[in-house]
């Protein structure tokens, strides 16, 4: 009633009050109690809510209202397993309720209790013999087989049982729905009974497979492949290609099967049909003819499809691999690609299409090939010594294709700096000229000539990597210019983000990133660009925020997917159930998720201490780099999570008054806290070693490839050494704590640690590597030093750890000291010598204090420089403006341009 409305409207307090009022009148109104519990849960009183809910649950309610309300509550508490208990009790009391049984089934589905689901499904079917219930039970068997650790068990028990259950329904002619046939197919496929699966699909039951496009054909094809029935594969692919000569997957199957048949020396039977699926092609001649026919068919069309033309190139490639191209006169690939360009060069995808086949060109022909393409593009030069430009969008598109191919074939790669810069100038001229064609483009559309700008930037990036500092600044100018004309170009934004990050400038990145409007799954697939740099460049608030967004996404995944697994049961989308579960697992095991979780916790610890918490756009990443990057990221994650565990283990060591004895704890068979710390420390050392070994390979990822981790910096700036020493110090101090001041060697060791730590922190190592200008002007060119920022961030982190460790030292040493002082007073002797460790510690703390205030001064100094830069920005903007404006075409008034920027 009323209180439910309050809950729906988010007025939890009123809901609680209303429920209380009702409960005064009717003490045992279960539903009111649960609604009150929901109100409590939502106002953060989880314990009270839980207690109240359990009060009702203990009575094993069977009224709809209580059951539903409790289900909602348990879901909000993230305790789905309690829902199963609830309905288990309900079906016991009302054993014939279809509704409660089906709720119970879904409750099991939510927590993945497959065995119980199987039983619940059958129980349901016994009450109400509806097919879906029966097949829910069958599907639960498949899920048991998928989740079974023992593959043998799944193949000999769960799947055969599922098969028998379906067969029973088939024999009784009780199969009703398409979903049931799909399920049958799924079982047979998993049992590797491909012949049987094929018979089902081709038989009477297969007629039900109508929902998906070519559902029957696709399933038959999959089975033919598994059974190596190449004649059928071939005939079916051929038939499907006759229907749609653009479907690439069937060309691949067609070629695969032709060559398989040739290798098997297959010959068609004299009398009967070639195969179940009709005519079979089993010779190269037939394949060549088939492709030529498809091409002839397309040539007559007013809007030719690209498939047949590319299929010819694919056939050539395959023939070449077999070493027998020349016999079959399919033509010269260079000429065919040229013809393809003539036909489709004005489509933006022409480059992507030809990219797949450039390996057919001999490198010696690259330049000639490019020139051949260029020659047929209608370009017009205004004067003899000026660049010839395209007169329409089609010509521009063709030219862009050639430029992209040139880059792909490495034509620009061999150029020297001067030539490259000349190409950049030409590309930018073409870019600006091409804007003319896109004057009517909306701001949500891309400009036709955007790719010119992108390519110019890539060339400049090459120069930058070769050591040309000025090039990177030009990249930024060009990209910002491009973005002003094409404000929704994601490529521009991503490139800008990567470059700004590499330069150490995080501030513009936030805005660029938010303009990408990346959300949900993109927190995983793009979000890593942000989280990698935000904290390492000292933008802690942004780092916190981006980690939070990502974590919120990952955490909701578990709950969300369960809901839709249940829906898939309801709607009979059985094949989606394992897919959803695999998807959930993939997200849960995302490397990015693990990293964000660790970094977020480290960040929380650090911020508290100071009292202030894969992908792939643009250039392709090679498989090799992908693999290396994954390895590097995993190593780095290991180091970070070990650091996190070590830091969070510190408070567990806190000094207690009674002297501890490590032997004593070991006696109980429980490893003590210090043992955990020492084990973690060993693991950290091992991880650091593997990391160092990895870095010895000196991998250079491409600029747009995976961003490198912070590992290299962590090792080279000395933070790693300092942090490990600090953790060793903890171990020594603990030893001192347990063994007392007796052993001088421990004291000596600790004293030395203090000394060397101070040296490392203040001396040549850490702090010095943070000093210097963030932006340096040398010989008229700007250079940023983002590593200074990264080092500073690591340094601050290391100091934090040093401070934590000091407070632990203090907690251990203080009691010793006061004990000694007491003794001293008692004996009234002045000869009780203070052990050296106290002096060492005192010196150490004093040094730390000085260092901390020096660091603060340094950071303040940086801020002043940045403020000064901001003041300069006004004039800097002017120069940039002038520079850009000069290069703009004359049609744009400065007024208009100002708005663009």
């Amino acid at each position: 009633g009323e209180h439910r409305d309050y809950l729906d409207n988010g007025n939890n307090k009123m809901a609680i009050q209303q429920a209380d009022k009702l409960l005064k009148k009717h003490k045992d109104l279960h539903c009111a109690k649960v609604l009150k519990a929901i109100g409590l849960q939502r106002t953060g009183k989880q314990d009270e809510a839980y207690a109240l809910a359990q009060e009702v649950a203990a009575l094993e309610p069977t009224d709809d209202n209580s059951l539903q309300a409790l289900t909602i509550l348990y879901r909000e508490m993230h305790r789905p397993e309690l829902v199963t208990k609830l309905y288990e009790a309900a079906v016991k009391k009302v054993p014939n309720s279809e509704e409660y049984h089906s709720h119970l089934f879904m409750a099991y589905a939510r927590v993945g209790e497959y065995k119980k689901m199987q039983q619940a499904g059958m129980a349901l079917y016994k009450i109400v013999p509806k097919n879906p219930y029966y097949f829910w039970s069958v599907m639960s068997l498949i899920m048991q087989s998928i989740s079974a650790q023992d593959e043998n068990l799944s193949k000999t028990m769960f799947l055969p049982l599922a098969e028998r259950m379906v067969e029973k329904m088939v024999k009784e002619d009780k199969i009703e729905a398409e979903a049931e046939v799909e399920l049958y197919y799924m079982i047979l496929e998993r049992l590797e009974k491909y012949k049987e699966a094929l018979d089902v699909v081709r038989g009477k039951l297969g007629e039900k497979l109508t929902s998906e496009l070519q559902s029957r054909e696709n399933k038959c094809m999959a089975m033919y492949k598994k059974l190596h029935r190449w004649p059928e594969c071939n005939a079916l692919a051929r038939r499907l290609l006759l229907k749609n000569s653009d479907d690439w997957q069937f060309y691949i199957t067609y070629f695969d099967s032709v060559f398989q048949l040739i290798d098997e020396s297959w010959t068609p039977p004299a009398e009967e049909e070639h195969s179940l699926e009709g005519e079979v092609h089993c010779s190269i001649e037939q394949a060549v003819n088939f492709i030529e026919e498809r091409i002839a068919g397309e040539s007559r069309s007013s809007r030719p499809l690209r498939g047949p033309f590319l299929a010819k190139l694919e056939l050539i490639r395959r023939l070449r691999h077999r070493g027998c191209n020349d016999e079959y006169k399919l033509g010269d690939p260079e000429e065919l690609m040229f013809q393809y360009f003539k036909k489709f060069g004005d489509k933006p995808c022409c480059f992507t299409d030809l990219k797949v086949f450039v390996d057919l060109l001999p490198p010696s022909q690259y330049t000639k090939f490019i020139q051949q393409l260029l020659d047929i593009i209608p370009l017009v030069a205004a004067a003899e010594d000026e660049v010839a430009l395209p007169g329409d969008i089609k010509a521009l598109q063709q030219h862009l294709c050639v430029v992209q191919l040139s880059r792909l074939l490495g034509i620009y790669h061999t150029m020297d700096k001067k030539q490259k810069l000349a190409v950049v100038r030409e590309l930018m001229l073409r870019y600006r000229h091409g804007l003319e064609f896109g004057k009517s483009c909306l701001k949500t559309e891309l400009q036709f000539s955007d790719y010119y700008c992108l390519l110019a930037v890539h060339l400049l990036l090459d120069l930058w990597l070769e050591g040309e500092e000025a090039a990177v600044w030009q990249c930024l100018t060009l990209l910002e210019e491009g973005l002003s004309h094409s404000p929704s170009n994601a490529q521009f934004k991503l490139l800008l983000i990567r470059i700004y990050c590499r330069l150490g400038a995080f501030e513009p990145v936030s805005e660029l990133y938010s303009s990408l409007d990346a959300k949900h799954i993109q927190h995983d697939t793009i979000g890593y660009l942000l989280t990698r740099y935000a904290s390492s460049l000292g933008h802690y608030a942004a780092a916190s925020q981006s980690c939070n967004f990502a974590l919120r996404f990952f955490h909701s995944n578990q709950k969300d997917t369960s809901e839709y697994i249940i829906q898939a049961y309801k709607y009979g989308a059985f094949e989606k159930i394992p897919e959803f579960i695999a998807f959930r697992n993939r997200l849960n095991s995302s490397l990015h998720f693990a990293q964000v979780r660790t970094e977020r916790m480290l960040l929380d610890l650090l911020l508290e201490n100071w009292e202030w918490a894969k992908r792939g756009l643009g250039e392709d990443i090679s498989e090799e780099h992908r693999k290396l990057s994954l390895e590097e990221e995993t190593l780095w994650l290991r180091i970070r999570s070990l650091t996190l565990r070590l830091v969070s283990g510190l408070p567990t060591l806190a000094h207690t008054i009674q002297p501890k004895n490590s032997e004593k704890t070991a006696e109980n068979g429980v490893s003590s806290k210090i043992d955990t710390i020492r084990a973690l420390l060993q693991q950290l050392e091992a991880a650091v070693d593997s990391g160092k070994k990895f870095l010895e390979q000196k991998i250079q990822y491409p600029v747009l490839g995976p961003p490198p981790t912070r590992m290299a910096g962590f090792f080279s700036n000395g933070s790693c050494q300092c942090q490990t020493s600090l953790f060793y110090l903890v171990s020594d101090i603990y030893e001192l704590d347990t063994n007392g001041l007796g052993k001088s060697e421990i004291q000596e060791r600790i004293g030395n640690s203090f000394k060397s730590l101070v040296e490392r922190l203040t001396g040549n190592d850490l702090f010095n590597k943070c000093k210097g200008d963030l932006i340096e002007v040398r010989d008229g060119t700007l250079k940023t030093h983002p590593n200074l920022l990264e080092n500073l961030v690591f340094f601050v982190e290391t100091i934090s750890i040093a401070l934590w460790v000091s407070s632990y030292c203090d907690s251990v040493l203080r009691p010793f000291k006061s004990n000694l002082q007491k003794k001293k007073k008692k004996k009234k002797e002045s000869s009780v010598a203070m052990p050296p460790v106290f002096t060492h510690f005192l010196d150490y703390v004093t040094e730390l204090q000085t260092l901390t205030s020096n660091v603060i001064d340094h950071i303040k100094g940086l801020e002043i420089i940045l403020t000064a830069l901001k003041l300069e920005e006004l004039s800097l903007k002017d120069t940039l403006l002038l520079q850009v404006r000069d290069s703009l075409c004359k049609h744009r008034g400065p007024q208009e341009f100002l708005f663009g920027v």
Binding site: K130, P132, L213, K519, Y571
Partner: protein, 210 residues
């Protein structure tokens, strides 16, 4: 040169080149999973030989299953920039219409932002006509309407009457209730009554056999 196949969860990890477009919405995971669980055949993706995703269409069947009156609805249709101007969107629409027809849908409808002129023109070319401007359909999560949207319908041959689409005033955004009435003859006008999100009043049994 395209491979057309069913969209799968893993494609969500790879569709950035299509979705990093200001007019293409990236929905929450539940939204995609709902479509995959409920109407998997209406969710088709096109893949290039190099493995790049070219574009996809996502749709559903809606209306009253109990009264056997339903139609196809296009929820999202998007093609990556470099694969435009190949007729791919038209091809995907054709596939969805085919599926909807096969399932006995009366027509296919869709909503498109007024500002998305390119899409509006394409749908017009495909035979769709602007039926009515739905105010405040694309509401931001804050509840503030940001712009109007068109509702568009294509009539299948089974229906030769007119379609009326009414907006009930006072109801905004996500729970917009649109009552659709159509005339089968000259005399009567029936209400089909569908909602956004559609009323989930049909039994799973009926739907599963759809």
């Amino acid at each position: 040169m395209t491979t057309l196949r069913a969209f799968t969860c893993d494609d969500l990890f790879r569709f950035n080149n299509i979705n990093l477009d200001p007019l293409t919405e990236t929905y929450g995971i539940p939204f995609y999973l709902q479509y995959l669980a409920h109407w998997p055949e209406y969710f088709i993706v096109a893949e290039a030989p190099g493995g790049e995703l070219m574009g996809y269409i996502m749709g559903k069947a809606e209306g009253s299953v109990a009264r056997e009156e339903w139609h196809g609805h296009v929820t999202a249709l998007s093609v990556a920039p470099e694969f435009r101007r190949l007729g791919l969107a038209a091809k995907l629409m054709e596939l969805l219409e085919e599926i909807s027809e096969k399932k006995g849908g009366f027509f296919v409808d869709l909503f498109v932002r007024v500002s998305n002129q390119v899409a509006v023109n394409m749908y017009k070319q495909l035979g769709y006509s602007v039926y009515r401007t739905v105010l405040e359909y694309y509401s931001a999560s804050s509840g503030e309407p940001d712009e109007d949207a068109y509702g568009k319908f294509v009539f299948s041959l089974k229906l030769n009457g007119t379609i009326l689409m009414l907006r009930i005033p006072g109801l905004v955004c996500k729970t917009i209730i649109i009552f659709l009435a159509y005339e089968t003859g000259s005399d009567s006008c029936r209400l089909m009554g569908f909602m956004y999100p559609p009323l989930d009043n049909f039994s799973y049994l009926r739907l599963y056999q759809l």
